[in-house]
């Protein structure tokens, strides 16, 4: 029996996750423990390959759907759908997962229980890809919880220390309550319409054949934004992130900051844009205001940090703010200028393209920064920035890659972060007579200048200061840890210099979000 192309990545990742502990038992008896790491990496590679195949199939023949099971006509059944946005997100998730798995071979070798580590890493990526492929809320919720449970466990993986356990519990409580609020929104939508299928919900809500008042629909929108916003770490729901991301092993921090929080943004965008047409529901304003709030608060908090991973965690919240603002500008333009779609649609697509492009850039950049900080922690055994001063001189490759990542996130041309920030800001300025949108863009500009200041400050501390005697013995990280770092740094530079291909990819993802 041939497995459909759409289900292949999920099947590969889940079966690799199940088989990894068994391979580990075999490997321990054959005195070749690394076989489990290689097996997990092979699983990621196979999933990435099948995702590439899926991407080619979708870009030539259009979105694909696969129905897993059905409850009859009104309910819709459990279905997987993939359009260009889904496969774009899935490629980012799987690519970062692959690099993190390669990095973990040496970084995690001092820990025990690595069969469980790789199994959880595989289910984490599989859950995220499942969220991206969901065509209805039923399996969106199931895959969402697979992703969340794996990440709780991975955050508190080093359970013999106090910090991961404490941060893991905080993360678990906040994120679970958030997911449950989203589930409550799903149950309300089910009550209004009798279905959980996204396409059917969309037609029923837009044709107005449901018994719900606009107020209750706005309540549902609020629940969706709050519920998924906890994982996306919107301010004021962000307080778990600066604890959980530094407490996790650095490879997992790269996963969490790079891609898991993007899943929250994806879920917000997908459910809102698909079900509630932005032309008739004004949630863009809320998203813009929360985006600005998120980046401002996180910028101020980031300045006060002494811990390198905490600083990077706060900078992740800042970047979520950019993405939310970009999405919000798109929805705002569509809802406030719905009388002239010829004017509003290009602006919305431009803003969404900027947001999608920034998702990719931030995934690469923040993955790079967390992996570099993991190398420093691995060598110097400390996360304190004053103690890490000058370590970039001892570890040239890591230090240079860290500088490239910091400059890219600061938005220095011609690195990748420059383009996406430019698109989001330009989209805000595209309607000069709209003073609200213009003031939002001005705030984005101020915030990104402000963020650049502490990126450069960190770079100066790490790269230019004289090394302290305590870290004089630091040597360059092993090659298998450097490989993912160098790949990510090269990607940052390459996307910055030749952004054309990725821009058209991000644009088609943005178009897919608007339904075509």
């Amino acid at each position: 029996m041939e497995i459909p192309l759409l289900v292949q990545p999920l099947v590969i990742l889940f079966s690799t996750a199940v088989l990894t502990p068994l391979i580990d038992i075999v490997g321990k008896q054959a005195k070749a423990e690394k076989i489990r790491d290689i097996f997990a990496i092979a699983g990621f590679l196979a999933a990435f390959y099948s995702l590439m195949n899926l991407y080619w199939a979708i870009s030539s023949t259009g979105p694909q759907t696969y129905i897993l099971g059905t409850f009859g006509v009104p309910a819709g059944g459990v279905q997987l759908t993939a359009d260009l946005l889904s496969v774009y997100m899935a490629l980012i998730f799987c690519g970062i997962g692959l690099l993190v798995a390669i990095y973990s071979v040496r970084y995690m070798e001092v820990d025990s229980g690595l069969d469980k580590y790789y199994a959880l890493l595989l289910t984490l990526v599989a859950g995220m890809i499942g969220v991206a492929f969901s065509g209805d809320f039923f399996n969106l919720y199931v895959f969402w919880e697979i992703m969340c449970i794996s990440s709780y466990t991975l955050v508190s993986f080093r359970k013999y220390r106090w910090e991961p356990v404490e941060a893991g519990f905080k993360y678990l409580v906040m994120s679970t309550v958030g997911s449950l609020l989203a589930l409550y929104a799903i149950s309300l939508l089910y009550g209004f319409t009798g279905t959980v299928n996204l396409k059917q919900l969309s037609t029923m809500v837009s044709s107005g054949q449901i018994s719900a008042s606009p107020l209750s629909l706005y309540f549902t929108i609020g629940m969706i934004i709050t519920g998924f916003g906890v994982t996306a770490s919107m301010v004021p729901l962000h307080t778990w992130l600066p604890d959980a991301h530094p407490a996790a092993p650095s490879s997992i921090s790269a996963m969490l900051s790079g891609v898991v929080i993007k899943t929250g943004v994806y879920a917000i965008c997908r459910s809102l844009f698909t079900i509630f047409s932005p032309a008739s529901f004004d949630y863009g304003t809320v998203l813009m205001i929360f985006g600005i709030l998120t980046m401002t608060v996180a910028n101020l908090m980031a300045l006060m940090q002494r811990d390198i991973k905490r600083l990077l965690a706060y900078s992740s919240i800042v970047n979520i703010g950019y993405i939310l603002t970009g999405v919000g500008i798109g929805a705002y333009a569509l809802s406030h200028y719905s009388s002239s779609p010829k004017l509003a649609t290009p602006i919305a697509i431009f803003a969404l393209m900027g947001a999608m492009f920034h998702i990719l850039n931030h995934a690469i950049g923040k993955g790079l920064l967390f992996l570099c900080s993991g190398c420093f922690v691995h060598e110097a055994k400390t996360r304190d920035i004053p103690e890490l001063e000058g370590i970039g001189r001892k570890m040239t490759w890591t230090g240079t890659s860290l500088s490239i990542g910091l400059l890219a996130l600061a938005g220095v041309p011609p690195l990748s972060g420059f383009w996406s920030k430019l698109f989001i800001i330009l989209a805000g300025f595209s309607l000069p007579e709209d003073s609200f949108m213009k003031s939002i863009s001005i705030l984005v500009v101020f915030n990104s200048i402000f963020a650049a200041s502490y990126y450069l400050w960190l770079m100066q501390r790490i790269m230019l200061k004289e090394p302290k005697p305590k870290i004089a013995g630091a040597v360059e990280a092993p090659a298998s840890m450097l490989l993912p770092i160098v790949i990510l740094a090269a990607l940052t530079v390459a996307i910055g210099i030749w952004p054309g291909g990725i821009i058209s990819l991000a644009e088609s993802a943005g178009r897919a979000l608007l339904g075509g």
Binding site: F138, V142, C148, V165, F169, Y190
Partner: protein
């Protein structure tokens, strides 16, 4: 005329608020986890009430509830295992003792 399912929906929303109150105000970790479980169950009740409005109960709502119960059990298992580890480190389940992380 109040239909029976409306009473169940009202009861479910009340129970959700009770659960959130439990999560937000209780200092004992076990009580926090119980609060999460209350929210999970009351959302299940909401689904079942909304799915039983017609002549026959909707199988979609029931399967959704069964799956969400299974997921709730998984979350509770992870939460309890983290709780055991917290007890090993601190010798207490009091959340006020878990204040070593700064904001």
């Amino acid at each position: 005329m109040v239909e029976p399912w409306q009473l169940y929906v009202a009861a479910a929303s009340a129970a959700i608020i009770i659960g959130i109150y439990g999560v937000a105000s209780k200092r004992n970790m076990l009580k926090t986890i119980i609060g999460i479980e209350i929210i999970t169950s009351s959302i299940g009740l909401n689904f079942l009430a909304l799915g039983s409005r017609g002549e026959i109960a909707d199988p979609l709502a029931q399967s959704m509830v069964v799956v969400s119960m299974a997921i709730g059990a998984c979350v509770a298992a992870v939460a309890l295992s983290i709780m055991i580890n917290v007890f090993r480190h601190y010798g207490s389940l009091d959340l006020r003792k878990l204040r070593r992380l700064r904001w």
